[in-house]
Symmetry: C2
Subunit: 132 residues, 2 copies
C-alpha cells in the first residue's frame, strides 16, 4: 500500500456537507463526479497526497443509501493506492483475505479498483486502487 488515496464519507445532503468541507474545514475543492455504476454523486476535496470524497446516493438501491439507512452516515471506507492491483489481489488472497471482487473493476478516470470485506480489515471496508 503506497498511500491513502481517499477517505469516503456517506452523507444525506451533499450540498450541506460540501459547504462544511469548503467553508468550515477549508479543504481544497476538486469538483463533483457522478458514478453511475454505484448510483452516487461525489464531491471531491484534496488534502496533502490524499482526497476526501463526500458521497450521496442518487437512487434508493445505491449501496450508499443502504449504509445511510443502517448507520446514518459518516465515514464509509478507506482506499489505499497500490502499484499493481492484480499482484496485490493475488497476495491478499494468499494471505486469506476476503475480496469482494474476483477481478479488478473499472474505477474513475481509467483506474482499476477492488474491495476487501470489513471482516478482513478490522471492521473497515477497504478499497484498493491502481492508477492508470
Amino acid at each position: 500500500m503506497k498511500k491513502i488515496d481517499h477517505i469516503a464519507i456517506a452523507v444525506q445532503n451533499l450540498d450541506e456537507a460540501e459547504a462544511a468541507y469548503k467553508d468550515v474545514l477549508d479543504l481544497k475543492w476538486h469538483g463533483r463526479e457522478e458514478v453511475a455504476t454505484q448510483k452516487v454523486l461525489t464531491s471531491i476535496f484534496e488534502v496533502g497526497e490524499s482526497r476526501v470524497e463526500l458521497i450521496q446516493p442518487t437512487a434508493a438501491d445505491s449501496p450508499i443509501a443502504v449504509f445511510l439507512e443502517k448507520k446514518g452516515g459518516g465515514l464509509h471506507h478507506i482506499c489505499f493506492e497500490v502499484d499493481d492491483i492484480e499482484t496485490e489481489m493475488a497476495r491478499l488472497k494468499e494471505e486469506g483475505a476476503r475480496l469482494l471482487n474476483e477481478t479488478p473493476t473499472a474505477g474513475v478516470g481509467g483506474s482499476k479498483v477492488a474491495f476487501l470485506h470489513p471482516k478482513s480489515c478490522g471492521g473497515v471496508l477497504v478499497e484498493i486502487v491502481e492508477k492508470p
Copy 2:
C-alpha cells in the same frame, strides 16, 4: 489543513486487527502506544504521509468503548494536520464550527490537538493536530 495525519479505527480486539493490518494489508507497523487520558491502547501503522491507528479501549468508560457498544467498531475519526492550531481554532469558530475543546489539548509526543463536532463536518468526528 495540510494533510491527513491519521485515520482512527475502533476495534474490539487489538491483537486480531493488528495482525490483519500487518499480514493481510501489509502496512508498515510503527508500534503500540497507550493513551492513558483517553483510556485506549493504540497500534500505529504508516502509509505514505499518513498513519492508520487501531484503537482498543482499556476501560469500560473509555469514549471508544461507548462507540464500540453503539456502532460495533469501524472507522472512528479523521485527523488533519494544521500549522498553527490556535489560529485554526479561531478561524473555525469564526466560521461557526462547533469545537469540542475550548483550548488545545496535549496529544501524543508534545503535539496539540482539538476535536470538531460531527455536526460541523458532514457527520464525521474530525480532529486537528499541530505537531511540535
